[in-house]
Symmetry: D2
Subunit: 267 residues, 4 copies
């Protein structure tokens, strides 16, 4: 007869440092949950679970601002639209939210992640001796060779994203106070300058770019730009799905039923 | 030719009171987003989007405590386990989180919603003239006739859920200060007394029950108990999916590959 | 101290009669997969996995017809629309299909399941001694008391669903040949008669009703009406998501970006 | 002021060549659905929707074999495990299937797509003048430089996948009859020879590789290897979710509750 796995092996399969759950014990990153409830903010708990230790108050304020900024972009945003549609199809509110979150992929929610990588490239070239403007110019050139979209810059809808000024203002203040070192901010500013020079219509940084600056300054890994956006946008997804529930539609399509889709014919 | 829909009709199809998004304008519940960033907490924004107006600081503290309490219950919780598995299959972090959230259904995430309805029934019977204990007893009897599970009470794992004391303590304090009226708390206490009397092993309120008390006291509709739990648990789902990503497994199964599932044979 | 679970206990946690997977062995319902490939149809394999044994050729033809009938209902069907939207957001084709399938809930995909239950009620009343028409009338009355929608009957779009005639024709032929006993068909016909009598606009059976008749005649449990519809509709979901991928849009909203959603104002 | 979009613009937003749905009309790729029901197989309908025209009987047989081969790989396969877990959490069967399908990402379901690309590279080098073995060797070398996994080859579980022989046998027969040209088969064979030469343990082609050969020979685009696997695996996902439903567990974790995950401690 085979020895089979030992019980210890089996326990190891799901080993984790995030939480310890045993009878009558719930510890999050080594902290009993009863010590957190009433003492730690929700955003502080997000930071704790993702990073393993709590943020400073100044770090928490910066993260809070970034998470507030991304909650909603209206019912025409794909993540919001599909959740509202889902809410009319006889599924739970959790399924409606999951449907929306599922769409925050490389194109819809991934720009922040890619922008963080791009900004980090600028910084690493300046560390290697380049001037900031030269580093930014060559990084922009490299990214443009690969894609016509520069992650975190430009918006098909807003000329100047209203979230830009307050978000970057908070980073500037935090850099001035030494809370963050400002390297992502400087890289973003340098890219904005390049994208504005000699153009009729500048390509300003958008909300993905602004939050990428914040997440980068705060030391989050690039994939967590997407992860944090997921948590932020889930709020708007939920609010819209809930509003739709109250409107009583069934099997809502993307347009009123009287509009028939154009039929393109057979190949 | 058909009259077709007017453009106005088409715009109405996606009408909303949650947000107004126009070129260079983002308003959330009538408030410009730039006025919220840096001034409003993430939890305050959650309240604003769901309710249409901001919370008082005391309301916000109570909501914050409830949302902190549900973030994680370890890698064996279905919502966490599937997100960790997803993270090893070559999908985005958003898809992994969506996979976990999708499981917060009637059994996994819906207990709070059902508990709110049960507690509201107790209150409405007391309003109609019953004593609290009689109202609670008859409501418990009714629910037991329909299901062997009483939503929000009992836990297959914890004898006393460590989240019970701090959560109910905050509600008691809020009731004493007049922030909430205490009706959900009293109903829950009455049910706990019934479930403890004459039993060797009492059935204490669990975290779904405690948060249902809070959401009820704060005036949320029952389905939002599930909705708010979704936002809360998403944090742990993300943290675990992210940790799993770092462990480098591919196509992780629920058990080590050396363990073969028992084959039950053909019918 | 407990010894902990034995390996046997652990193996039992995932016990199954669907398949046996061991090194170099893949058996589906007791049949080596290599004996199925090239010998069994895809629909025959669907039946085998769900039922435990293969269908007769006549049963398979009936199931095949039902599954062909539900594959697509155009880009305005919620399940199709969200998958097309998903395909523009930078997620995998599997994520796009999952997004569509997730919406086949109680309202969108569940009518067949409910219709099977309703038809089974008619039959059980006739078995108890009622005439078919009286049984159908009282069942319709009961369902109408609970909901204004009669599952499987009526369509907001088609006057007569073009799938009705071929599907019910196949069931009639199968009943005439003794392949099925016709009880679900007779119940559905009786309900249609009731819904047509004395009305200007009859409420004919729709595709959910027709496939419910087939699944019922073939002995599937009601929840599998939804399950089989999921497999069927996945085909259209995939075809539409794939077509959308080829059109190159990014973050496609439900309407052209030039149409702004109506803002309903603050409460 | 702009006139806004016309109805025509709005209709074009959801234009499609897959289906035409108008009152009392359902056409799939130009064919009335009533002409398909009872005349076309489910697999033939899959081909029709994806390709725009129906398959020949020989093409259909090959596609059918590939789709039968991938339906299930037991409850430890991630896609199956998560669907079974979902089925215990109080969500619909459609949500459980969606949960499983969502995991068929680059690592779990994407190997076929990548394998098709790899095999196509081999063929294009032979067309450019290379011998088959040299082309295969250089392609393997290129892929190995990028990843330690060669898509479609090797299995962590099976020494020889039992699906290999019947699947490749069917392709060989089809190539002999001129149904397909055999280029993907020859490329796959050449890679297998390279991976076997001079090794104690050869790395045989796996089911992703075998089906990639079939999909390639049949002229499907590489992303549809994943798409077709989604349709195939959905069958096993549904069968397992349905079986789990009947076992009555609630909130099933990946392991028996008596096994506690190893806690790795704080950083």
């Amino acid at each position: 007869m085979s020895d089979g796995p030992t019980v210890r092996d089996v326990s190891d399969w799901w080993s984790t440092a995030v939480s310890r759950i045993e009878p009558d014990v719930i510890e999050l990153r080594g902290r009993p949950v009863q010590d957190l409830i009433g003492h730690t903010s929700f955003v502080g708990t997000i930071w704790l679970l993702l990073r393993g230790h709590p943020p400073t108050p100044a770090q928490e304020r910066l993260l809070e601002a970034a998470m507030v900024s991304g909650v909603d972009h209206g019912p025409h945003a794909p993540s919001i639209a599909v959740a509202r549609i889902a809410a009319t199809c006889g599924v739970g509110l959790n399924n409606a939210v999951a449907t929306g979150v599922n769409l925050l992929g490389d194109v819809h929610g991934g720009a922040g992640e890619q922008c963080m990588e791009m900004l980090a490239e600028v910084t690493s070239r300046t560390v290697a001796g380049d001037t900031l403007d030269r580093a930014a110019a060559s990084v922009v050139e490299d990214w443009r060779a690969r894609s016509k979209y520069l992650p975190g810059f430009g918006h098909r809808f807003h000329t100047v994203d209203p979230r830009r000024k307050p978000l970057l203002g908070l980073v500037e203040a935090a850099a001035a106070e030494g809370v963050v070192d400002g390297s992502y901010l400087h890289a973003a500013n340098a890219i904005e300058r390049i994208l504005a020079s000699g153009r009729q219509r500048p390509v300003p940084i958008n909300v993905d770019g602004c939050t990428a600056v914040i997440y980068g300054e705060l030391g989050f890994a690039p994939p967590l730009a997407r992860g944090l956006f997921v948590l932020s946008r889930s709020v708007g997804i939920l609010a819209h799905a809930w509003e739709e529930t109250g409107q009583g539609r069934r099997n809502k399509g993307p347009m009123p039923p009287s509009i028939l889709p154009t039929y393109l014919g057979t190949a």
